[in-house]
Symmetry: C2
Subunit: 335 residues, 2 copies
């Protein structure tokens, strides 16, 4: 049985209703959502595509991971500004078979998707404010997240200065490793695998980003969505600087990799996407205030910002080579 758009919207709104009272003046269901800004705060706005085939594979990715991740990756942009998410808009295009049939597989997919999204929304403190739904052959998702940050405290990409130290959170390349495991397995593998979990259920580094912003520790910041090599180039471009990073310092995945892997451990760390760790710079005078770990998350100094506008990689034997942006680029893939 097909049902109309209004019924689907009701189902989504019900599934994502916050447990406690609404924090919005007007939630999903009107022409638009109304949000009362907190005095003294700036509003942060970001949006992200999450498309079948491009960003996830419906036969490989569990529906609850698709729900979790479509919100987590947009929330990660809020983390990268040092902000706090407040609400989100969900644009969802779904094939008929995945919408409102009463007992079939389709309804289960939608329920699981909304379950993963609900868990993410609660974890990140981000409520559904509105959205748009339509019918489509393929699953198309677009998420807009609205956050806030105390006026003047947002951390931009453009603030890095020569001499600043470069830090990253966590281990880089694990999510790409998880994706490769997922692609190679005939069915959905054990979710207990650390790399796979990182690929399926990424954790935006909200607490770290806010801590850095509150204490004015970071001069610039970006989240690692496409891979260190690409995102470091973006940060340097916005700041009109270069960087020198040390291979020996880059936190890369440990343990055995199989020969069929697309990258080695260093390649994973440099070019693997989807980690949603934070890359940030700190002036030399403030760098000693950055701990080795923050709430259990490793923070590693990997290099230094330079005046010369190139990104250079220092190998273990101290040879230098240019680091090119080889992370994920939707307009270069399949070239």
């Amino acid at each position: 049985m097909k049902a109309g758009e209004d019924k689907l919207v009701k189902k989504i709104v019900k599934a994502l209703a916050p447990k406690s009272g609404p924090r919005l003046a007007l939630s999903a269901g009107d022409d638009a959502a109304l949000l009362t800004p907190r005095p003294g705060y700036e509003t942060i706005l970001t949006c992200d595509w999450f498309l079948e085939g491009s960003h996830f594979l419906p036969r490989k990715h569990p529906a609850d991971s698709i729900g979790w991740k479509c919100l987590a990756r947009a929330v990660s942009d809020i983390a990268a500004m040092g902000g706090q998410p407040r609400c989100f808009l969900l644009s969802l295009a779904l094939p008929d078979r995945l919408t409102l049939r009463e007992k079939g597989r389709g309804s289960r997919w939608l329920d699981e998707f909304l379950g993963g999204l609900r868990r993410a929304a609660r974890r990140f403190g981000c409520v559904l404010a509105g959205g748009d739904t339509t019918q489509r052959r393929e699953i198309l998702i677009n998420v807009t997240v609205v956050g806030e940050v105390l006026g003047g405290r947002a951390i931009r990409r453009s603030g890095a200065k020569a001499g600043d130290r470069i830090f990253v959170s966590g281990v880089l390349g694990e999510a790409e490793l998880g994706l490769q495991k997922l692609r190679r397995s005939a069915r959905i593998p054990q979710k207990s695998d650390r790399a796979l979990r990182k690929h399926l259920y990424p954790q935006p580094r909200l607490a770290l980003g806010q801590w850095l912003a509150d204490r004015k520790l970071a001069s610039s910041m970006i989240d690692l969505s496409d891979g260190l090599s690409s995102d470091l180039h973006r940060l340097c471009g916005a700041s009109r600087v270069g960087a020198r990073i040390e291979v020996a310092q880059i936190p890369s995945p440990q343990g055995p990799l199989t020969a069929s892997m697309r990258f080695d451990a260093l390649g994973l760390a440099l070019n693997g996407g989807d980690d949603y760790e934070l890359l940030f710079t700190v002036s030399a005078s403030k760098a000693p205030r950055i701990p080795r770990s923050f709430e259990g998350l490793a923070l590693t100094e990997i290099g230094e910002i330079t005046r010369e506008r190139r990104v250079v990689l220092i190998e273990r034997d101290r040879t230098r080579k240019a680091l090119l942006p080889r992370g994920w680029d939707p307009f270069r893939e399949g070239e």
Copy 2:
């Protein structure tokens, strides 16, 4: 020549740069956009799909109309709250052939698309704040618009009361008539045709919406995106009321319609989508303050809100029948 995502983003940002100084703390190019809310105002948030095949036909719709309309329809939701648009996020997925080739047709498509979008952005006073781009076989667009309204002045769908008069702006069904003309023509027809212009370049009724909100004249409001029959049901549902409307009063397209039309003039007015006129209710005591036209736009009283929760159509011969929601529904089309 293919180029990367960063280059496409630069092209978009350059094409849409406002003529006067930026009104945003931080515009497109960082992880997220920063917006400083005006004290005393609430933030309005809305988003809309605009997808190849579902919402436009690339062989029929000029690229500049696609650019104009993707923003206009989202801005119309801001008009329907009585608000003022401030900025927008553009999520764009494009086939390679439409991106950065230097001299080919693809580049022309993108230039025209951005030209239409730029004209709309300037007309509506709505600047590009950010977005997301990716590569895709088909053109996928999602637009988020952020607006503002003086605290407490937003006009919701849910405020209609029994006895309120029902008004609409403009002529209903013209955009659907324009679409039918477009579908039937072998090539893109004369843009001077009034119905076609309304379909290709809809005008969100911002000034009217703000005037109604400023003077607290409307008890409820919705924009007519899917057709009067569907959108009136939505307004009545949100307000927990019914409505009685008069066929003789509904402003429908004038002039000859051909026999092959999908609807007659009344059918166009009741069920045609994409008009982006405003449907609003006004208490009986305030109704005399609604003029017959506002800045050249006709305002027509078409009926009354009722306690009984049904939507009834009064024919010219005074017979009554139920008005069912027969407007555009992406989950019902092609059933």
